[in-house]
Symmetry: C2
Subunit: 378 residues, 2 copies
Amino acid sequence: MERVRVTYRLACKTAEEARKKAEDICLEQTVEFPADLLPEPRTRFHENVIGRIEGAITAADGGETFLTTISYPVDATSCELTQFLNVLFGNISIKPGIRVDAFSVPRPLVSAMSAGPRFGIAGLRALLGVPERPLLLTALKPMGLSTAQLADLAHQFALGGIDIIKDDHGLSNQRWAPFEERVAACAAAVARANAITGRRCVYAPNVTAAPAECVRRARFARAHGAGALLVSPMLAGLGTMHELARDDSVGLPILAHPALLGTYVLAPGCGFSHAALFGSVLRLAGADVVIFPSWDGRFSFSREECRSIDASCKGTDGSSLPGVLPAFPSPAGGMTLEKIADMREVYLRDVAYLVGSGLFRAGPNIVDNCKLFLSMVQ
Amino acid sequence: MERVRVTYRLACKTAEEARKKAEDICLEQTVEFPADLLPEPRTRFHENVIGRIEGAITAADGGETFLTTISYPVDATSCELTQFLNVLFGNISIKPGIRVDAFSVPRPLVSAMSAGPRFGIAGLRALLGVPERPLLLTALKPMGLSTAQLADLAHQFALGGIDIIKDDHGLSNQRWAPFEERVAACAAAVARANAITGRRCVYAPNVTAAPAECVRRARFARAHGAGALLVSPMLAGLGTMHELARDDSVGLPILAHPALLGTYVLAPGCGFSHAALFGSVLRLAGADVVIFPSWDGRFSFSREECRSIDASCKGTDGSSLPGVLPAFPSPAGGMTLEKIADMREVYLRDVAYLVGSGLFRAGPNIVDNCKLFLSMVQ
């Protein structure tokens, strides 16, 4: 039977050290038990349970790291996303110098986990009525505005031609704009604008919360006219986002926000590659749109790291997740209209540009600023 | 009104750079908006919404880092654990050189979030009938054993005097020992042993899964005689563990496992201090027992890092979480009986020693090995 395959980048000085580390991973991520203590027949564990080094261990980064591919039996994952992530990087997240570079999941496991986004790029384009051009996203902000002020902003954004208006990811249920009041008002404001423009702009409230409350908010949002959802999966739980994606009573596109995720990619030699985390993991967990900080903004990702996220979101990076739909990369984090020309070179047409504060700075009239934004991506 | 207070460790070269970084955090974690674009009256945002630098920014680590304390209004957290974590470290997890060193939460926010473990140290001692000595924990392993083999192991552990027998954290719902079958068999095996010994050993199955399934498994476990639960909060979601802790229909002590958490503490200059994450965050999220890799085992935490986790679990580290019960530190990750004397110097009596493979290696008879373990902590 096909196995899960993971390529790890190991910070090691010698090939011998890398091999020892790889052998340790094979045990640590499965039986978590010394090989010499395994019950007989031991071959049963080695064939059916324990990870296996596949092929050669190769030097990379000028000899400072080594790449090894380890395969795991599908059975070890229980065909559940949470246990899959545990096999991928659970205990070894606590061992220095191990980074998940890329991984592939066989088709039967993708199916059994019901992994992947519900809409993907083509589905979201159909929903929004935007067949070809980049999508325009913006955020309702700042935290501290009243519901009426946020709804007024949403109305202007929608009039100006934005495709998806999301809550700022910090808006949850604060007294300034409580969740239910805000969702009803902002969804109505967007609907009024759509009636004027004839367009299909959607409002994506932030439903991030503890799991049961998150699902409750998602259903409320659906019932009150929201057209998509914003979730911070590391706050709500990756499994929570995955449940929202699979829940037919919710049935809305999901935008994934990177709050609390950053450490996994920033930590040198630890965590995940940008592509593995933002593309592969978030896509498996149901994200239709993956928000991440693009280069040249308030954050530190490089152009090349962003390019790798783009490829991984679109499934063109060489990792194999058969049956998992591609997701929109959504570059954000201090993007402005001036940066679109440069971004276009990397993200091409299948991109959801998220410009937040930049839309406020572009000029005194929000509607005009949005129209300018739209004109730049036609 | 009292505010949340967070001490961040900033990797900066100069005090001036540290101040700019601190000012940026105040905005990034709340309004996520440039100060000069804030709507009027701006004082309203600065007083009620935005973070505030408290006191001096001081050099640390021989001038390589700076410590700053930033306070946030309780209102920004929506009085929800997920949004509290977002304010604490959401977006700035994606900015290099910022680490959460410690934090304090005012009592009304602790209450409003229903934060903290249900049992704590005293409650768990009462439940187990172990008033004073260290607790003895072990794990059912390796993955790949059948239900009957695991139940037999559980029986021997319980006969030998273990207090809490947990599933290995990799046991979820694999075909070798499916969850429901395993839980029923292992709980029954422990009950049979208790009938012989007159003790109150409990079995703690691993209920880590997507949120709804996790709650379902926890209720099944409760109904079938489990006496505690194992959860990996970073896999299941911190909010999921928090929901389990608050759920009266579950009502069992919770052991938190560090799978996938490691990167947050290993990343130099990023993430969380060991004390803030393992002690404060996991305790807020409902852990009665905090499992972590102790020094001198298979992992890399130092003796001093473990000492800081111990203090934070017990609430003696200077951070203030009023009303949150202390939790047992549970040193693990390659501990053996030979290491207990050394560990005792740090963890004293309020500790839950977790010895897994070490109990298999100590001698041919598991029951005798457990009795030896017990004799060492009397």
